[in-house]
Assembly symmetry: C2
Homo-oligomer: 270 residues x 2
């Protein structure tokens, strides 16, 4: 199912600024048993990301209606919601009062999700680094060439995800997921104030940690921190939580904190 | 006129990776008296930029045909040529054998061009900085949010262009143009190995300088270098060459080297 501004169609205007400049933001939603997971939080993040780019976010009621139609039509799927600054004349200057475009696309749930949640995944190190851009850091915008180039570095299906470092060698995230390390019953996750996407699922893990009384350190982490971790896991709204089983030759047995947090994420919906 | 893969239409697939991730490149062409300016060089740059992203470039014969139709229909216009990695399933992983999308859009020539070439322009300093990303530097790709945010910093029509610095404060370029400084009969232009777009017109200025025996220094430049310059000018394929008349309170009289180079660019077509 594809909706563009509420209309079922498979196309967008060729003059859309989303295509021209990546001038927009997006969200990836999990629809399960006919319901959108964590919709309130997803919408808030969409709204916040739009605000960073000064793009007017479509009203919540409009987008809620769209995700409800998607969930009615496909009760178990992935939905992607894109909001762009809409059409404009040629040139970078954004229109003063843009008429935004929103696109909702559904896709099947990857068949490997469950197994990977249970068995853990193989992670590799990407050569493509994330450039530092504090102005856009944390935002899930449409300028994602770095992620594409990083994901292009491997084709082997056994490797589930690639780890990206920033230009200075700090750990940032997977190509499509956020990263957590466990050591001494503490959680460690990279600071994302200079690059990376601060995902909804990452925020949920931070809330979970608070609820369970687990201390979290958000800061600058390097490869030795990862290699010294007792547990490593990845999160996003589709995978929820994947424990890392292997990274560049180093192996981890399944860890208890990943299991606890994974269960918490599944049981809660906010 | 809008052509998508050779077909007259005003839309592209909503699943195009150009929209999803900015996964593509583009060129802006000047069509004048029914001919495309510097087409050989424009195509070579498109091909080179595609190669950096591992996107197969459409054949020159196909794109030549498209720009010829545009020039026949609108003998005096701006044409924009976009090439994306085409459609794919959800996710960053690019298809192994992508079927690329190309889009050609025409637009009117801005009415201010000639006057600004003659009288010079007002340049302002942008707050938005360019992040350093050597992997994508020089390439005119579709991830242009930094340029959009920089261009959004002013609406006053009197200001023609904004100057962008990189994260470390080095001069890089205008939001849509390359930058040149003149001092002691030498040309200075920023090194673009860490960010920025190495435009076709910039390459032509370098060729012009060689033809005229003018020494060019490509390197790291800062604001004091700009303020100490005897002439400052901006280039791109639409504006060709705009002398900078004013930058943040500092004024320049019209300079002779900008005139000489501007005439050379107009007289030559390679």
């Amino acid at each position: 199912m594809i909706l563009v501004n509420g209309v079922e169609t498979d196309s967008v205007q060729a003059t859309d600024r989303g295509l021209a400049y990546g001038d927009g933001v997006f969200r990836t939603l999990r629809i399960q048993a006919g319901k959108v997971r964590c919709w309130a939080r997803q919408f808030s993040k969409l709204e916040a990301d739009c605000a960073v780019l000064h793009i007017p976010c479509p009203p919540r009621s409009v987008l809620s209606q769209a995700v409800i139609s998607a969930a009615d039509a496909e009760p178990d799927c992935i939905a992607k919601l894109i909001v762009t600054r809409g059409n404009s004349m040629r040139g970078y200057a954004p229109p003063l009062s843009p008429t935004v475009t929103w696109v909702m696309l559904t896709a099947p749930v990857p068949p490997t999700l469950q197994r990977r949640r249970k068995d853990g995944v193989k992670l590799r190190l990407c050569e493509t680094r994330l450039g530092l851009q504090p102005r856009l850091a944390g935002v899930k915008h449409l300028n994602r060439l770095e992620n594409v180039l990083a994901r292009k570095e491997w084709t082997c299906q056994e490797t589930a995800e690639g780890l990206m470092l920033d230009a200075e060698g700090y750990l940032i995230a997977g190509t499509m997921s956020n990263l957590f390390l466990v050591r001494g019953n503490r959680l460690y996750t990279p600071d994302l104030s200079r690059c990376g996407v601060a995902g909804v699922q990452r925020a949920r893990v931070l809330d979970c940690a608070q609820a369970l009384g687990i201390t979290v350190n958000i800061g600058q982490l390097r490869l030795p921190d990862l290699l010294a971790a007792e547990e490593v896991f990845l999160t996003n709204s589709v995978i929820e939580l994947w424990p890392v089983q292997e990274f560049e030759g180093k192996h981890w047995p399944s860890g208890s904190l990943a299991v606890t947090i994974g269960e918490w994420l599944q049981e809660h919906d906010d």
